[in-house]
């Protein structure tokens, strides 16, 4: 007999393995090695969170109670995957091009980035999903109880509730840990998707194992099995055609609309082509999941004592046969089904709650502060996500407690499905019908929500629980045609089909009529055009006019949301595509638009729009702007995409030519300036040397004076030598005549040495380092790289003007490349000078203090180019900040 303790140990071990898998996948993805993470198989397996504990345990119970009707739950998604791939492809394309983070975001974004629609969909999703989460908690606790009972310890309410709360807390921890580790611009969670894929395999294997055991181990083979099935009441159930149609529709629509399904189907999708594989692979998965449902139910009904809960046959049959190992596998399958659903649902819901409810409130409380918003937006977002996750799970737990964990929960699966399906008409209308408006969508959603609540959700608590018995029988206030199970006097229908039919009819009708009779705002029209024509029109949404916002302000804001590295990489990429070096691109409307979409990936479309609006216009966009913009967009529509690409290309070429011309003119000016600079740098020390040597020669000096003057001559000679060395170094580097040494060494040792040479930690400047992060091996010319580090540290020492100077040396990973940032706490370098400092003889600060010739950074730049790395100024960090992108570990090419 499996003792209960062993079961708990196995469950914990399994969770630990999942942690390991998720952690490993995140690591691989962060290092850029996660190719296999992006395979269509992982995508297909992640879709299997459609199969929750309700399907794992409940399908058998369903079959035992109602015959083969359970098949409808698998048929709906199968039909969608096979027959509706064009709808899915459209959703995925829109999701990617608009950087959609959730189904609420999709609806909000489609209807003019509307905040109120986001709130409505979010609330609807929370209400409809909470009972479903409760159901999962129940299934896990019940399966624990089965083992405990089998071990002779019957569980009461006390133990069940205790187990439920432990499970809820465990799931919250896992989800917070892997769901909010970082704010990925695409809202993707590699670790979680990988863990879910593993769980998908476990639950399939578990169910197949039990099925095979039942057919070959108990029934004695397929032939005997078929005989048993024929004889069982399951095959004699009469099927109700209207229920079949209703259930297939609801499960198919829910497959798209469920927040967790939208999350894996659209948001976590990394490649549109994965849909092609998933199109047949996922139905196959569903087929395998359903293959042994009937045999298990039949054998369970024959084998188990009357009154045994058929929902738990998957566990109790192996236990009753003394197959503890199999029961354990089966337990893990159910556990996987429940946990994967809860984790993804919670992530999807918390993203929605955070982006559509918490952030808008926070933003309006900080209105008008633009980039100077106090505090770190990123940490606000992460905190609100974490709190939302805890809140969603708490709600699920409370629902579980209040509903008593009884049979009322079992019926909630379909009720929950039909709740989220209320989003379906607006979703479809939004992506296929340009005439759909925000008002229509809101009215349709609210109507569907209300009808669903009245006919399905509230009655699901039981007769008389929330709606009084009298109201159930005779309608509220005696209005007979408002009876929850017989709206408009249509009596005698199956309550579920009745509720689905009325809610969908009224929802769709109100959405349609509301859209026809309301007028869309310009932004709605634009978004509508983008969503409906996503395949032939992929230019921007509400286009921003070239605006007054400084690129640096935008960078500061983006860093707070995307994180420093992400934001800097984005800005650098944008600048590069404009043909500019550095991190600050021109603020064009194209750029702002792309930036807005990136930000939308983290905070949702409506919020991103509002935040950029605050910065670029000082307030939100006016109607006049939008109308102007709408006209512009209409014109663009008339041009072909190719023409547009061409003009962008021309613009880029023109810019490159202009730059080249400027460079040429600048070059000849520079050459003169360079010679005159060299002359100055050489003559100055020579002046002192000549003067003092004449003084000494005159011989009218005291011994003390002689020593002092000789010292000056000595120092100035060194200064001359240093200057000549630098000049020579620079010229050799620039001409590529230098021989680089391939060396292996640890970055930490290299930085240690550089800090020592440059005067050490303390002594006028503190140096902050993360020594553990620096611990990896480099393969490059370490002496040259060290020269760059020494130069940067020495510069910080010379130029940092803070009261208590501090230099932070930070190692990180940006776009798969190691970088070392040197950031001091001084006033930094003005935007206009940030490029110039890498030129020869440029010294921004007080010259006499510097003591060098102004060649240091120019040499650093040459060295990094030689080594195949990069050095640049990093704006928006507070103080002066330099980023050294370390070379990849490739052999150096000597010239």
């Amino acid at each position: 007999m499996v003792t209960f303790n062993i079961l708990v140990a196995v469950a914990l071990l399994y969770v630990a393995v999942l942690f390991g898998v998720a952690f490993y996948a995140e690591r691989r993805a962060a290092l850029g090695f996660g190719g296999w993470l992006h395979s269509p198989i992982v995508y297909t397996l992640s879709l299997s969170i459609y199969c929750t504990a309700w399907t794992f345990y409940g399908a058998v119970g369903y079959a035992a109670r109602s015959g083969v009707e359970f098949v409808t739950i698998y048929l709906g998604p199968t039909l969608v995957m096979v027959g509706w791939w064009w709808v899915l492809r459209r959703l995925v394309r829109i999701g990617r091009s608009q950087r959609i983070t959730s189904i609420a975001d999709l609806i909000s974004s489609r209807f003019g980035k509307s905040t109120s629609l986001g709130v409505i969909v979010t609330l609807l999703a929370v209400v409809a999903t909470t009972p479903y989460i409760a159901l999962q908690l129940q299934s896990v606790t019940l399966s624990f109880a089965v083992f405990s009972n089998a071990g002779g310890q019957a569980w009461g309410h006390e133990e069940l509730n205790g187990a439920a709360i432990v499970v809820a807390i465990g799931l919250a921890t896992f989800t917070v840990f892997f769901g909010t580790r970082n704010l990925d611009a695409n809202e993707r969670h590699h670790g979680i998707v990988m863990a879910i894929a593993v769980e998908a395999v476990v639950k399939l294997v578990a169910l197949l194992a039990v099925g095979i055991f039942v057919v070959w181990g108990i029934a004695g083979g397929p032939a005997q099995m078929l005989q048993q099935i024929d004889a069982s009441p399951i095959s004699h159930w009469e099927q109700d055609g209207s229920r079949w149609i209703g259930l297939i529709f609801v499960s198919g629509a829910a497959f798209i609309c469920l927040p967790r399904m939208f999350q894996v189907l659209v948001v976590e999708n990394v490649d549109e082509r994965h849909l092609n594989i998933a199109g047949w692979a996922f139905p196959t998965y569903l087929f395998l999941m359903s293959l042994f449902v009937v045999p298990i139910a039949v054998v369970g009904l024959n084998l188990m004592p009357a009154g045994a809960n058929p929902d738990l046959f998957v566990l109790t049959i192996p236990l009753s046969q003394g197959r503890d190992g199999l029961a354990m596998v089966s337990f893990l399958g159910g556990f996987s089904s429940a946990t994967s659903m809860v984790i993804v649902s919670t992530i999807a819901l918390s993203t929605m709650v955070s982006n559509h409810i918490v952030l808008p409130v926070w933003l309006s409380a900080h209105k008008g502060q633009g980039a100077k918003v106090s505090g770190d937006v990123r940490s606000v977002i992460l905190r609100s996500r974490r709190i939302s996750i805890a809140a969603v799970l708490t709600l699920g737990y409370l629902y579980y407690r209040i509903s008593g964990g009884g049979t009322a929960l079992a019926a909630i699966g379909l009720v929950s499905f039909s709740g989220v399906v209320q989003i379906f008409p607006v979703l479809l209308g939004g992506i296929f019908w340009r005439g759909a408006t925000r008002i229509g969508a809101a009215m349709g959603l609210l109507t569907g929500f209300a009808v669903w609540g009245w006919t399905l959700f509230l009655p699901s608590f039981g007769d008389g629980a929330i709606i009084s018995h009298a109201a159930m029988q005779h309608g509220p206030f005696g209005i007979v045609w408002l009876r929850p199970d017989a709206l408009f006097g249509i009596d005698g229908m199956d309550p579920l089909v009745h509720g689905i039919m009325w809610s969908m009819i009224l929802n769709t009708l109100v959405f349609f009529i509301g859209s026809i009779f309301s007028f869309p705002t310009p932004l709605e029209r634009l978004q509508g055009a983008q969503f409906v024509n996503v395949f032939d029109y992929s230019v921007g949404s509400a286009r921003w006019r070239s605006s007054v916002a400084g690129a640096e302000d935008l960078l500061i804001m983006s860093q707070r949301i995307l994180g420093g590295n992400e934001a800097q990489a984005l800005f650098q990429r944008e600048a590069k595509s404009q043909g500019k070096a550095g991190y600050l691109p021109d603020v064009t409307s194209d750029f702002i638009e792309r930036l807005e979409r990136e930000l939308a990936g983290s905070v949702g479309a409506a919020t991103a729009h509002a935040m950029i609006g605050q910065l670029t216009e000082g307030s939100s966009v006016s109607v006049e702007d939008l109308i102007a913009v709408a006209d512009e967009a209409a014109q663009i529509l008339e041009y072909s995409n190719r023409l547009e690409a061409k003009s962008a290309e021309q613009e880029q070429t023109a810019r490159a030519l202009r730059d080249a011309n400027e460079k040429l003119t600048a070059l000849s000016v520079q050459k003169d300036a360079f010679l005159s600079q060299i002359s100055h740098e050489l003559r100055t020390p020579m002046t002192s040397i000549r003067s003092f040597s004449e003084i000494l020669r005159d011989g009218e000096t005291t011994a003390a004076q002689q020593g002092h003057y000789a010292g000056i001559i000595h120092d100035e000679t060194l200064r001359l030598t240093r200057l000549l060395d630098d000049l020579l170094d620079l010229s050799v580097l620039a001409n590529g005549q230098v021989t680089l040494q391939d060396q292996n060494g640890n970055l930490r040792d290299l930085i240690d040495r550089a800090v020592d040479v440059a005067g050490g930690d303390g002594d006028g400047m503190r140096i902050l380092r993360d020594r553990s992060g620096e611990n990896f091996v480099l393969h490059t010319d370490l002496d040259r790289l060290g020269q760059v580090f020494i130069n940067l540290i020495t510069n910080a020492r010379k130029y940092c003007d803070a009261k208590s100077p501090m230099l932070k040396i930070k190692v990180g990973l940006v776009a798969g490349q190691h970088v070392v940032d040197f950031i001091d706490n001084g006033t930094g370098i003005q935007v206009g000078n940030q490029q110039m400092i890498f030129e020869k003889f440029s010294r921004v600060a007080d010259q006499s203090k510097a003591g060098g010739a102004g060649l240091g950074l120019a040499i650093c730049r040459e060295i990094m180019q030689r080594l195949g790395g990069q050095i640049s100024y990093l704006p928006g960090q507070g103080g002066a900040a330099f980023r050294v992108v370390l070379p990849n570990n490739k052999p150096l090419s000597n010239q």
Partner: protein, 122 residues
């Protein structure tokens, strides 16, 4: 009373050298390093002769010279300019702006002494 020379220059070693040479020749030498505040220093001090470097931090010697010539109190004060760039166009510009003499670094000590003497006697 000894004649007063104001040396506006920002290289410490050159300041020391010129101070030594002129003090030995009997002048009272005052020094100033910053370009931006040079005019204020001149007006507070009024010197009999000004030695002015071209490349100063804050403000170039040419700009300072222009301002000196524009105000009555220093319109005729002898000014000797120093430069390490040694280009002919710098010399021309200095002359045009009203410098009395122009010396290229490095110079001999005797050159400094003789030029200052000549300017004071003129």
């Amino acid at each position: 009373m000894a004649k007063r020379v104001l040396l506006i220059e920002d290289e410490p070693n050159i300041i020391e050298a010129i101070s030594f040479i002129l003090s030995r020749d009997g002048w009272t030498v005052h020094t100033h390093e910053d370009g931006e505040t040079a005019i204020a220093k001149v007006n507070a001090f009024p010197p009999d002769l000004i030695i002015l470097d071209v490349m100063l931090s804050g403000r170039s010697g040419f700009d300072i010279l222009r301002d000196l010539r524009a105000q009555d109190i220093t319109a005729t004060t002898p000014v000797m300019m120093l430069t390490a760039r040694g280009q002919a166009k710098d010399r021309d510009l200095a002359k045009r702006l009203g410098a009395n003499h122009f010396m290229t670094k490095p110079f001999s000590n005797a050159e400094v002494r003789d030029n200052v003497r000549a300017l004071m006697e003129a």
